[in-house]
């Protein structure tokens, strides 16, 4: 990204793990990037592909989906479905030669606040190395 521009990232965090992890990161006073918006979902499997596409076409530079580790889902198997769905979304973006790296999936448990910090900072660093999302300036969407 050019100049001092900061990438904008949207996160879909599951209520039971990733969101609690984010909460703990705040309580623990870990420094977190400010250009990150969170949408809390009851399960990571609530993130429909459409949400991700809408975020990308709406100009978000990155979209993070985070949920419980495999096997730890509060709803037994929701995150397994999320994983397959993310594979599908990335495959669609790849087939259209769009930047599939803008969509990421991570497993963050409620106690892993430092992992949350690390994932977020790394993601934003990686996005800084990329061009700004062209959808941000595209008027014919």
């Amino acid at each position: 990204m050019s100049g001092n521009e900061e990438p904008r990232v949207l996160g879909f965090l599951c209520n039971w793990c990733a969101y609690a992890g984010a909460d703990l990161a705040g309580v623990s006073r870990l420094q977190l990037p400010a250009n990150f918006c969170v949408i809390r979902t009851m399960c990571s499997a609530r993130t429909e592909p459409l949400f991700l596409f809408k975020a990308l076409l709406g100009g978000m530079d990155g979209v993070l989906v985070a949920g419980c580790h495999p096997g730890d889902c509060h709803y037994q198997r929701g995150n397994y479905f999320t994983r397959r769905r993310l594979v599908m979304v990335q495959e669609i973006l790849k087939a259209l030669n769009m930047e599939h790296e803008r969509v990421r999936l991570h497993w963050i448990s409620a106690s892993e606040c430092s992992l949350y910090q690390k994932v977020l900072t790394e993601f934003i660093e990686d996005l800084k190395g990329m061009e700004r999302n062209v959808a941000r300036d595209e008027v014919f969407l």
Partner: protein, 362 residues
């Protein structure tokens, strides 16, 4: 596989006679096939009585509607009441199987007759007036002679052999056609309808030649407009889109009656686009054309059978089916899934293995 029966060389007459015999001996309550409609059109028809029935045109080389879509509507409330002989193309059968997996239709009481498919012509050809000679020329396709003017999706179709049909009309040796069995039920039907017809089989050479031609065709059709390189190309391809949603109406997989893209959620109120206007200084109306198409890919790419109906109905000539074919193939390859191969196979997004795709999600 059970024996097949030779039905001669004169297509499509031979096929019509074969269907007639199957109907007489198979104990069917009706047949579901293409038929001539008033005004020179062609569409599907469920015929239960011979008298008064229109001229039946089984496997006429056009696809006015996707049969899978029609069968879904007919069987959504429960199985067809009597045994019905359904005559469709492979992609229509595959589309229906996909919809049955989504519990939106029922396969019971349906016996499928399909074909080693030579593709179909665009719908516009029927509206422009059908030349009878074209039908005869068309049925020579196993000779390897390219048929001109097929739908682009058909030119590049590599899934032209039906997976789950009970009866398959297939090219046999020396320009003959054979009615072969794809299931035990199909074998019984053939034995009853053609007890004395000479035995015949699918000609593997003809199938091979077709496969080679189709693979080349696939490369060709996917290399132009469907070769999208990022968002700017996508905006170009869908720049013509008028947002009529005809592609989703014609799609065999898009079954939601309350489509999210037609809900008020997708209507762009000025309130919502205020931010966009501030940043961009203008937005296109109708908004969300690209989102509609990508979103639809997210909903049905795993099951896309590349039938080409979406492109056929597009009023502005967007290569929708080619794009969906390309994306669908990529997604399906990742899950090693072939839509419509087997009704018992779970949809890739409705199933999982605990230890898979570890590279996605760390």
């Amino acid at each position: 596989m059970a024996r097949g029966a030779d039905i001669g060389t004169e297509m499509p007459k031979a096929l019509r006679e074969a269907v007639q015999r199957l109907m007489e001996t198979g104990g069917f309550e009706g047949t579901f096939t293409l038929a001539r409609t008033p005004g020179g059109g062609v569409d599907y028809f469920l015929s239960t009585k011979e008298e008064g029935a229109p001229e039946l045109l089984p496997l006429h080389p056009v696809m006015p509607n996707h049969a899978g879509r029609l069968l879904r509507e007919m069987t959504l409330g429960g199985a067809m009441r009597g045994k019905v002989l359904v005559i469709t193309r492979p992609c229509e059968l595959r589309g229906f199987v996909e919809i049955v997996k989504r519990l939106q239709g029922c396969l019971d009481n349906l016996v499928f007759l399909s074909v080693v498919c030579g593709g179909v012509f665009p719908l516009s050809m029927v509206s422009a007036g059908w030349d009878g000679k074209r039908t005869e020329e068309y049925w020579a396709y196993p000779d390897g002679r390219p048929v001109q003017g097929l739908r682009p999706a058909c030119q590049g179709c590599t899934e032209f052999i039906p997976y789950t049909a009970d009866l398959v009309v297939a090219p046999s040796a020396n320009g003959h056609w054979a009615l072969t069995a794809g299931s035990e039920e199909g074998g019984r039907l053939i034995e009853r309808a053609f007890p004395s017809a000479p035995a015949a089989e699918m000609d593997p050479k003809a199938l091979e030649a077709m496969a080679v031609a189709r693979k080349a065709g696939r490369e060709e059709v996917l290399s132009h407009e469907a070769d999208v390189k990022g968002l700017s190309d996508l905006v170009k391809v869908f720049g013509r889109c008028i947002g009529c949603h005809a592609c989703s109406k014609a799609c065999p997989i898009c079954y939601c009656t309350l489509c999210t893209f037609e809900s008020s959620r997708m209507e762009d109120r000025m309130e919502q686009s205020k931010g966009q206007l501030e940043v961009k200084g203008g937005i296109r109306a109708p908004a969300g054309t690209v989102l509609f198409h990508i979103g639809r890919m997210g909903h049905m790419a795993v099951s896309c059978v590349a039938c080409g109906c979406c492109q056929d109905v597009c009023p502005v000539g967007i290569p929708v089916s080619l794009l969906f074919k390309k994306v669908g193939e990529a997604v399906q390859a990742r899950f090693e899934y072939v839509p419509g191969r087997d009704v018992k196979e779970a949809l890739p997004i409705n199933t999982f293995q605990p230890m898979e795709f570890k590279e996605v999600g760390e």
